[in-house]
């Protein structure tokens, strides 16, 4: 009797299967580790962005205001406490210029818990002083004890550092009232300008290479260079920006110089992804358009580019996400340390979110670490939003040809 070709008893070498399983796990393990580390980092940052504080006001009683109070009311009460008369306070609140200065020096914020009860408004002045800064859990454990030990002009608050006026407050030497308003506006300015420059150039280059110079040496040379440029460390672009845009062209440490530098950084990435998207449009589409008597320009702009648009936009969003997080090149081209005003145009000084975070982290006061944590959270939120948008676009407009 001959041996059957397939027998159940043979099964196959159990060791082979075992080794395969081990290998598969070994390959996945680092990924899980990385994910676990990232989520730990995120949670830690989140935890650090809350703290329990005892703060002493230098003037008067430290007062809190119930939830329904308008912030103007709270501010007025705070002014009266500081010794202004009724009329003076009224005049200061009416004058928009004075009001802005007041809001820069006083943070009117909803605190999650205070010694006078939960969810109350607190006005923090620029001369207020921190007595104690405790991590969230420790602070909550000692809450009653701290509340009992409050001295004259002192208040106990559970401070969420990432709160609604964090986005509009100006940077300050006092961490209690420091915010990232200027950095947010600066980022919007720089990123918008950079994309306005990088998108036409990047997509244009991709179209040129993919639709006009299909074959040929020029195409190959540019291809190699683009891929190399996409991998150049960003600080090198910063040096280039410093030497060329800031010094040679004389733009100085302005938004324009920063936008041009970031545009240089973004162009290779945008070009490479846009090329992939254009290449994914099947040749039959171009043939159809040509056969209908379209010129090459019409083929590109009426058929190929619209068909490739989802891919192109995804690439643009991903490169925007990268540009938002760039601190190194902007430190070189002069994102300034302390800018107490909103940028007024492309030629004004600026700072951006990552640079602002970097500066906060390097401050000696421990609360700046909390401000930085809040800033990092903002940045992570913006980045996640961009990545989700890219993911959505990619799935929503994916085409089967």
């Amino acid at each position: 009797m001959s041996e059957p070709l397939l027998s159940k008893t043979q099964g196959g070498d159990p060791w082979k299967a075992r080794i395969d399983r081990v290998f598969a796990r070994a390959l996945v393990l680092p990924l899980f580790l990385a994910l676990a580390l990232l989520s730990w980092l995120l949670l830690d940052t989140l935890y650090r962005s809350f703290s329990v504080q005892v703060v002493r006001s230098d003037v008067g009683l430290s007062q809190t205001f119930p939830l329904g109070t308008a912030w103007q009311e709270a501010l007025r009460a705070a002014l009266l406490q500081e010794g202004y008369t009724e009329e003076e306070a009224e005049a200061m609140l009416k004058d928009s210029k004075e009001l802005r200065a007041l809001l820069n020096q006083n943070r009117v914020e909803l605190m999650w818990n205070t010694h006078e009860g939960p969810l109350r408004y607190v006005v923090t002045g620029s001369y207020d002083e921190r007595v104690l800064d405790l991590p969230l859990l420790q602070g909550l454990r000692r809450w009653e004890e701290l509340k009992a030990g409050l001295g004259e002009g002192e208040r106990l608050v559970l401070n969420p550092w990432l709160d609604q006026t964090f986005f509009t407050r100006f940077p300050s030497r006092n961490p209690l009232i420091a915010g990232m308003g200027v950095a947010v506006v600066g980022t919007v300015w720089v990123l918008t300008l950079a994309l306005l420059i990088a998108i036409p150039v990047g997509v244009g280059t991709a179209i040129l290479l993919e639709e006009y110079l299909r074959e040929g040496r020029l195409n190959r040379i540019l291809e190699v260079n683009l891929r190399n440029l996409a991998g150049v460390p960003s600080i090198v672009y910063g040096l280039l920006g410093l030497a060329f845009f800031v010094r040679e062209m004389g733009f100085g440490p302005t938004i324009l110089a920063a936008a041009l530098t970031l545009a240089l950084l973004g162009i290779p990435v945008i070009t490479v992804t846009a090329r992939e998207a254009l290449r994914a449009v099947p040749e039959s589409q171009r043939q159809a358009a040509f056969a209908l008597g379209a010129t090459r320009r019409q083929v590109v702009f009426r058929v190929v580019l619209p068909a490739a648009l989802p891919g192109v936009v995804t690439g643009v969003i991903l490169s925007a996400a990268r540009l938002i997080g760039e601190a190194a090149p902007l430190l070189l081209v002069g994102a300034a340390a302390y800018v107490p005003f909103y940028p007024s145009g492309p030629l004004s000084e600026y700072t951006v979110i990552p640079v602002q975070i970097y500066l906060w982290v390097s401050q000696p006061q421990p609360e700046f670490a909390r401000v930085a944590a809040a800033g990092i959270l903002v940045m992570l939120l913006v980045l996640s939003g961009l990545y989700l948008a890219a993911l959505y676009l990619r799935n929503r407009f994916r085409r089967e040809w």
């Binding site: 299909r214 074959e215 099947p282 039959s284 589409q285 043939q287 159809a288 358009a289 040509f290 056969a291 209908l292 008597g293 379209a294 010129t295 019409q298 009426r302 058929v303 619209p306 068909a307 085409r399 089967e400 040809w401």
Partner: protein, 270 residues
């Protein structure tokens, strides 16, 4: 039977088309891809308002001949053409003739349906928009083209909303035909238009070709000899870049004169 490239072959012609009846007159056409010659001294006339089929085994240059009629081969780098293709008396390879204009006058349908990822309306309107047709005239001509392509009944409720890519394969191909005939070309080139379709869709397309014959001159490349026999008035048989034989379809299929033609249509090679 031993097959070779026919050297200096004189095309066998049955009932040749008189010059007056020809819409397209190909004269001594040679075509090279780089150093490789793909078409050898082809001379043939395509009669007006008739269907001419081009048959032959793979790689015989059927599609190349078809594409050289509307200069689609120009898009391939390294293509060189000698000889003349007279379309309504004008040589389309004349240096003063714009290839884009040639393609606007000659419609083309491809092997695989290739509608644009746009609505059915926008698909058909594409060529018209290139010609600058606008407004109600655009709309009328789109509807007219859809009717002539026998697609109107199926899409009249949805043609402004639905993407052309969401139609079935046969419908897509008829959409491509509608797109090609919307600009009123005199000549319609079809490059194996049914090879990607099922038999029912194929029959719809074949019926359509017979109907289109009254308005357009059709040149169709096909792999399928039965199809050539069903739809065409004249047939060209090509072999390795050489036009071996041409004549009325009936004659060519029943009384082939060249041994290669006979061998091919009886299925001894191909």
């Amino acid at each position: 039977m031993k097959l070779e490239i026919l050297q200096n072959h004189e095309t066998v012609r049955t009932a040749p088309v008189p010059e007056a009846e020809a819409l397209v007159d190909v004269r001594h056409l040679n075509l090279f891809y780089g150093d490789k010659q793909a078409l050898f001294d082809i001379s043939v006339r395509f009669p007006k308002n008739q269907v001419t089929a081009i048959i032959g085994p793979s790689g015989c240059g059927k599609s190349t001949l078809l594409r050289s009629l509307n200069r689609m081969n120009d898009l391939i780098p390294g293509v060189r053409v000698t000889g003349e293709v007279l379309y309504e008396g004008v040589n389309v390879y004349d240096p003063q003739v714009d290839p884009v204009a040639v393609r606007r006058h000659i419609g083309m349908v491809f092997q695989k349906p290739n509608p644009f990822p746009k609505t059915i309306f926008e698909n058909v309107a594409f060529g018209l928009r290139l010609m600058g047709v606008k407004g109600s005239e655009l709309e009328d001509r789109v509807v007219e083209a859809l009717k002539r392509a026998a697609l109107w009944g199926e899409v009249q409720d949805i043609f402004k909303k639905q993407s052309g890519l969401r139609l079935s394969g046969g419908q897509q191909q008829r959409l491509c035909i509608a797109r090609a005939i919307a600009v009123e070309p005199h000549l319609l080139l079809m490059d194996e238009p049914t090879s990607a379709l099922d038999p029912i869709a194929t029959q719809a397309i074949e019926d359509l070709i017979l109907e289109l014959k009254s308005r357009y001159t059709v040149v169709i490349v096909t792999h399928n000899m039965q199809q050539a026999a069903r739809v065409s008035d004249r047939t060209l048989f090509m072999h390795l870049g050489v036009l071996v034989e041409e004549g009325p379809t009936e004659e060519l299929f029943t009384k082939p004169k060249h041994p290669y033609t006979e061998a091919y249509i009886t299925g001894r090679f191909g």
